[in-house]
Amino acid sequence: MTDKSITELRGGRVYDPAHGEDGVIRSVYLRRDGIVSSAPDPAAIKESIDISGCVVMAGGVDIHTHIGGGKVNIARMLLPEDHAANLTVRGEHPRLGSGRAAPSTLTTGYRYAQMGYTACFEPAMLPANARHAHMEMADTPLVDKGAYALLGNDDFFLRRLAAGADPKEFQDYIAYTLRAAQALAIKVVNPGGINAFKFNQRKLDLDEANTAYGVTPRQIVRTLAEGIHALGLAHPLHIHGCNLGVAGNVETTLATIRALDGLRAHFTHIQFHSYGTEGDRKFSSGAQAVAEAVNANPNISIDVGQIMFGQTVTESGDSMRQYAGSAFASPKKSVIMDIECDAGCGVVPFKYKDKSFVNALQWAIGLELFLSTRDPWRIFLTTDHPNGAPFTSYPHLIRLLMDASFRRERLATIAPDAAAASHLGSLGREYSLYEIAIITRAAPARSLGLKNLGHLGAGARGDVTVYVDDANRERMFATPHLVYKAGELIVRDGKIVATPRGATHVTRADYDPAIEKALDAYFATYMSVRRRNIAVADAEIEDFGHSPLIQHQARRNAS
């Protein structure tokens, strides 16, 4: 007797770029253990749901969103006003919560799922703060998650780099860090700059030496990118470059792309790194130069970090740049931290104003980047939540990308001098649903090496979002009709109907255990904790966090 376990979603238009499906009308068959490839035995079908007129995509995948860890929680603590003004009410979600810019973890999970996203990746997990980041992610329901460990500002790495250690040692250190922090990928933030700030350096250019260790951001980026390449990690080095937010930083960004010399790398929230110095205000768009460099260098991927107007809070490991930005805090308060000889953080509330020349131009620069980067597989939709805007603004952003007349209307409302300084108005490109499916799920999943997310083929985990087709793309993407997580219906017309916990994705890479011995001694001699205690055990995620651990094994590249 056949087990009735399959749900058929019938009659929808399927956008599955991983398989080249661009609006194909076909049934999608779902089961708790994933997506079934072809039509199963009709006797196995538990229910068949008519979704004619609907658009079907895999669940959304957010490659860069600050959802869990120390700095996110500091932002919450710092801003009770954001939370008191944004309270959920009983019955709205399975549990209460609050916040818009830095929502509580439960609310974060619910809102992502309501928006059709089923996987979110925290991009800035300090190894010293890894256990805490996983605690918060465990309390973020419905979505899969994972995090990128920060390296490149920690004193251990900088000392070894200054000492001219062997590349193999850095490979071991990277692989060890992935294991100890339970991370999916590696990120560098203001390479060496966070450390330099601890020694009172206030800026650090690509070829400027950190005074304590005499090493440059160029060396740090190269060492990490080469190590990651050798280990064969799916996601390349995730780079938050030097000089974030500084007018003229487009030159640093282009120089960093050149410094990689063909090595794969991901440049995150590149909008914040695409500023020129032209014009009366000495602040201009560098988007065209950046887009051209991305177009010309297939080893490079980017996410945008689009800003939206309104109140948000910026939170970053980049204590050096956040300290500089704290002068513009709104409301006037901020937190800057030096952390554990590991990295740092800065939390600065900020209000982007459409009548501000700089903010309006930032908005235009982000959109220019979206519209001028040709290969959608190498650009991912982000607002660097919440740094550019809260993730709940994604539907609005999607409409801006898909609807040129809407975009022109919005452009007419921003500071006129900024609109004049941008050539956004001349860009007529409109993203198709197929391209949106690429930049919001297929491409980020592929970049992270998540073989069972971001697509609708056989073997996928069964994360599926069904949208009612609507010419108003903002409305369409804000409230999908149905959302499935691992084959289970979790949201129907905005209402959460089940609350499974998502899985935690990590990458494993082999390393020589000798690195643990070296680190045991280093931690015992200098740090405030023991190495074995700062490492996060599998059981802490699986048992305490009640989150299945999905391990992705890296395969070394031949050197």
């Binding site: 929680n73 605690m135 000889c341």
Partner: protein, 437 residues
């Protein structure tokens, strides 16, 4: 005899006992007896006895010794099976119109269960150190701050200012573990390291390795004034007061300005509650002024008895630090209004769930006037009207996780002895399940 009979009634898993036939040595043990969470203790367990043999401070050594093997639950002063005690607790929660979940001395798993229960019951939630935690939050939420963590302190600081911190009574390992060790990533910072103590006589560190110490004595309630004078001296402004004191302040200001990484340490729980926020604000102002041209940082010590974990978990689960109320249709964050002490004093709650898994600390006396459910280590003697459910101590009887005072580092707690005691999460989870059915 009665106790034995009661045990047999309980299911095997519920059978409370603390025993071990194994004499075991444990290394790298995390100590839970203050917010520093030292994780380098060496501990020997012999049966139920847990004895630290290396790296524990005097306070922790006494706390480990203070454990009882009497593991009986009580209902209204009478021994009871744990299952019956849980049933009594469920009945009390069903009847309560405005419960309070307080104490919150638990590991993360216990705290998650406490918040879930509080949400279900519409309770107000607060921690036993809520008053001190709120002093910090008041300052944080009004002006923000610039702070550092313990490894930075250990390696980077060349000057450490103890602002009313009495390391003789709490945070006893601060100097031996983080300030006086000779190795540092920046050896020159360690060589030059000196201490300044500002505060009352008895709080001055009685031992500080060989580190040079300057002391400027003042009553705790005079700290805000002293710090404002120091700020003025740092800015090169006029300093009032007796000539000797003025001279000392000017000298201290010169040392601070000459330092590469001065760290100002405070402990909200050791400050005068009437002025603590003023003291902390003054410290943060000094640090902010210094950072315009040089580097400096603050460091707050606190979050004992799971307090930092409670604040952090409250913040991510609800969006608000403590204290919050689940009584209405939405969360309500009103830190002073929802103070457990005030609510109990004003009889504004009609049931108190008191959680103190790290130490046998009883609820405030005011709770005796209302029904109380107490979760704490074995051997406690709560008031007559209480339902008392003994629970294991995280990091001794069962594994767990806690967040350290700096809100960055969290540490694993390992089980050190065989124990069948339920955890706070077990008891509250069963309670919530029963309430839902």
């Amino acid at each position: 005899m009665l106790g034995l009979f009661v045990f047999q009634l309980a299911t095997l898993k519920l059978k409370p006992s603390v025993s071990s036939t194994i004499n075991t040595r444990h290394e790298d043990v995390t100590c839970t007896y203050c917010g520093l969470l030292c994780d380098d203790l060496v501990v020997r367990t012999d049966g139920a006895t847990v004895t630290p043999i290396r790296n524990a401070c005097a306070k922790a050594t006494a706390a480990y010794a203070d454990s009882s093997a009497r593991v009986t639950a009580f209902i209204a002063g009478q021994p009871a099976a744990i299952e019956h005690a849980i049933t009594s607790a469920v009945n009390l929660l069903r009847k309560a119109r405005q419960p309070l979940v307080a104490g919150l001395g638990a590991d993360l798993a216990g705290l998650r269960a406490a918040f879930a229960l509080a949400e279900h019951c519409g309770a107000v939630v607060d921690h036993l150190h809520g008053g001190a935690l709120r002093q910090n939050l008041k300052v944080l939420q009004s002006r923000g701050w610039q702070t550092t963590t313990l490894s930075e302190l250990r390696n980077r600081a060349d000057l450490v200012v103890l602002v009313g911190v009495d390391v003789n009574v709490n945070y006893q390992n601060l100097i031996p573990r983080f300030l006086s060790p000779t190795a540092a990533l920046q050896p020159e910072r360690r060589r030059e390291r000196r201490l300044i103590y500002l505060g009352p006589n008895q709080g001055a560190p009685s031992a500080c390795g060989e580190l040079p110490l300057d002391t400027l004595r003042c009553d705790t309630d005079a700290l805000p004034t002293l710090l404002r004078a120091l700020q003025s001296a740092l800015a090169g402004g006029t300093v009032s007061g007796a000539p000797k004191r003025r001279k000392l302040l000017v000298e201290l200001a010169a040392k601070i300005k000459a330092a590469a990484y001065p760290v100002f340490v405070w402990a909200a729980g050791q400050l005068d509650p009437a002025h603590a926020d003023l003291t902390i604000s003054a410290v943060c102002d000094i640090v902010a002024s210094l950072n315009r041209t040089q580097r400096a940082a603050g460091l707050n010590l606190g979050g004992d008895d799971g307090g930092q974990t409670a604040v952090s978990a409250a913040t991510w689960l609800t969006g608000f630090p403590l204290s919050v109320s689940y009584a209405g249709n939405t969360l309500d964050y009103a830190p002073e209004r929802w103070s457990a002490d005030a609510l109990l004093r004003d009889r504004a709650v009609d049931l108190c769930v008191w959680i103190s898994a790290f130490s046998p600390r009883l609820p405030p006396v005011a709770a005796n006037a209302i029904p109380t459910i107490v979760l704490g280590p074995p051997g406690m003697t709560p008031a007559k009207n209480a339902v008392y459910i003994p629970v294991g101590t995280p990091g001794i009887d069962h594994a767990g996780q806690l967040i350290r005072t700096d809100a960055v580092v969290s540490l694993p707690l390992r089980q050190l002895r065989h124990s069948n005691l339920l955890t706070v999460a077990d008891v509250l989870g069963r309670t919530l399940n029963a309430l839902r059915t």
